[in-house]
């Protein structure tokens, strides 16, 4: 167990430049492919958020979200939460094919396979930064000013980074074993979208039967912690240590996932070439 974690960590940290280069040039190739290049990295999340806002904010007339006496316009609430999802979702779906999409490389040269999930995460982290810029601009336009609580964003971004890396390790190996995993995960992520507090706060009112149990189940989703964490930092002036139970739960979940991912990676490191 420790051997596999040590193996994956060592391979990743001794190949930082390799990870950076792969992520960078893959982004660059993506941009070269289209005429407007980097503009799309900003435009596509904007269009996404705009769509959700039209449907849920305008058509269904969502009231501003109020927590602990702080009122936040729905659009802004949506943007900040969606910023986290814009990072998590592609990391999960593309993390599945992290190894499979590089099959022509790993069958032709000696390659540290365990760095591949990290390249996907780094690549998507760039898109996340673009989305965060949009969120900051929106926050400033709505009259929110930066304060020290915003620094919690760095912590929550780190949380998101670690958990999607862990999930990427697991899913990329599983996809090599059974290609169906990618299809299953793509569908499940779509479902997860509605059970993460993105377009609604995932809180059942007291008129719903079993509402207290349902609300607890919602919190078992590790992304609940991250998405709400993003909002806590910018709107509600809370630090991450204000949720000790959730923080502990999140890290236990993440560490178990990471160790599991490392063990899978270690077990199959030399087998991938025969699995495609």
């Amino acid at each position: 167990m420790f051997k596999s974690v040590q193996y994956v960590l060592k391979e990743n940290f001794s190949n930082l430049f390799r990870i950076y280069s792969i992520a960078k040039y893959e982004l660059l190739a993506d941009m070269r492919d289209s005429k407007f290049g980097i503009v799309w990295n900003f435009l596509s999340p904007t269009i996404q958020v705009f769509t959700y806002w039209l449907i849920f904010g305008v058509a269904w007339n969502r009231k501003p979200v109020e927590v602990n006496g702080v009122e936040v316009p729905y659009l802004l609430w949506l943007i900040v939460g969606y910023a986290a999802w814009w990072f998590i979702q592609p990391c999960i779906t593309q993390g599945c094919s992290a190894i499979h999409s590089k099959i022509n490389v790993i069958t032709k040269m000696k390659f540290p396979v365990s760095v591949l999930p990290a390249t996907v995460v780094c690549k998507e982290f760039f898109n996340h930064l673009c989305m965060l810029i949009i969120a900051f601009v929106a926050l400033l336009l709505f009259g929110f000013r930066p304060n020290w609580y915003w620094l919690n964003l760095v912590y929550y971004a780190f949380c998101a980074f670690v958990i999607v890396e862990a999930i990427g390790l697991i899913l990329s190996v599983l996809t090599m074993l059974w290609r169906d995993v990618k299809k299953l995960v793509t569908s499940l992520t779509r479902m997860l979208f509605y059970f993460t507090p993105l377009i609604w706060n995932c809180h059942f009112d007291s008129n719903v039967p079993f509402h207290s149990i349902l609300n607890k189940i919602m919190k078992l989703n590790p992304f609940y912690y991250i998405v709400n964490g993003y909002r806590d930092s910018v709107f509600y002036q809370k630090n991450f240590w204000d949720h000790p139970a959730l923080t502990v739960y999140f890290w236990i979940f993440t560490i178990i996932a990471f160790v599991l991912g490392c063990m899978l990676m270690y077990k199959f490191k030399k087998k991938f070439i025969d699995l495609f």
Partner: protein, 274 residues
């Protein structure tokens, strides 16, 4: 202790190595496949450091499988292989990104091969000179002809500095002029730097000119190993014999060879233990 010292003069020691592939049945299903197939069967050899080995064999005889095992990409199923030194497979078109320019691709492929930033900067000029691409260096690789792609890919691959080179059909690309240039560079590596080289090619001429030792693999087994001229002659006799066979006879011959490589399926193994 003496044994260890003795082993150090060898670049590669293969001791009864086998590689097994599983065959699918006609309906393309893995599950009911009852056929397992020796890609390589019980191959043993020792290669001294600085030796240049030409690997010969007909299509599907296991040459490329051997090159994957030698370069450490694939794992053997039984036996033991000891490799003293860093090894690298020359993979020409691997890692080139079609959207990016030639110059950017030097960085991409360099990084993929695991070079540090400084090392990439150091080799860039070399690669530019060797590949002779001129202004095409600033065009996206998707606009390149296949020969130009190979030039670029091969030039970058040469920048690696391993102790053991494995060249699998790499020199049969590009025009004659460039092929000669590549061969010259390989000879330089052979003579001046004393690298160990495994050279896989269907061009007997090239193999005879370039290699010292010949290794003939047939049907997954090591048929012969020795001075390159001798092995190459025996190999070409065998190919002539094969070509002289009439349709039915040849089919029978090949079927027999195939049968020999099959192994009966063992008891079903446990979950995740393959």
């Amino acid at each position: 202790m003496t044994n260890k010292k003795e082993n150090e003069q060898y670049a590669v020691i293969a001791d009864h190595i086998s590689k097994i592939y599983e065959l699918r049945n006609k309906n393309n299903q893995h599950k009911n496949a009852n056929k397992r197939f020796y890609a390589l069967k019980d191959v043993s050899f020792k290669i001294k450091k600085g030796d240049v080995v030409g690997i010969l064999g007909t299509n599907g005889s296991g040459k490329s499988t051997l090159s994957l095992l030698l370069s450490g990409i694939s794992d053997i199923d039984s036996g033991e292989i000891v490799v003293n030194g860093e090894q690298a497979l020359i993979a020409i078109n691997t890692g080139l990104n079609m959207q990016l320019t030639g110059l950017e691709n030097i960085k991409v492929k360099g990084a993929l091969m695991g070079l540090k930033k400084k090392e990439i900067d150091a080799i860039t000029q070399d690669v530019i000179n060797f590949s002779e691409l001129g202004d095409f260096l600033y065009q996206p690789v998707k606009k390149y002809s296949s020969g130009m792609k190979s030039r670029l890919g091969f030039s970058i691959s040469l920048a690696l500095d391993p102790d053991i080179f494995i060249v699998d059909e790499a020199l049969s690309v590009g025009d004659k002029g460039f092929a000669k240039k590549c061969l010259d560079r390989m000879m330089q590596l052979r003579d001046d730097r004393g690298k160990t080289i495994f050279f896989i090619s269907h061009s007997l001429e090239q193999v005879k000119n370039f290699c010292k030792t010949g290794m003939w693999i047939e049907g997954g087994e090591l048929r012969e190993m020795g001075p390159v001229d001798q092995v190459a002659d025996h190999y070409s006799e065998y190919v002539d014999m094969l070509n002289a066979l009439k349709g039915k006879e040849k089919q029978n011959f090949l079927d027999k060879k195939f049968e020999k490589r099959l192994i009966p399926k063992e008891e079903k193994k446990g979950f995740l233990s393959f």
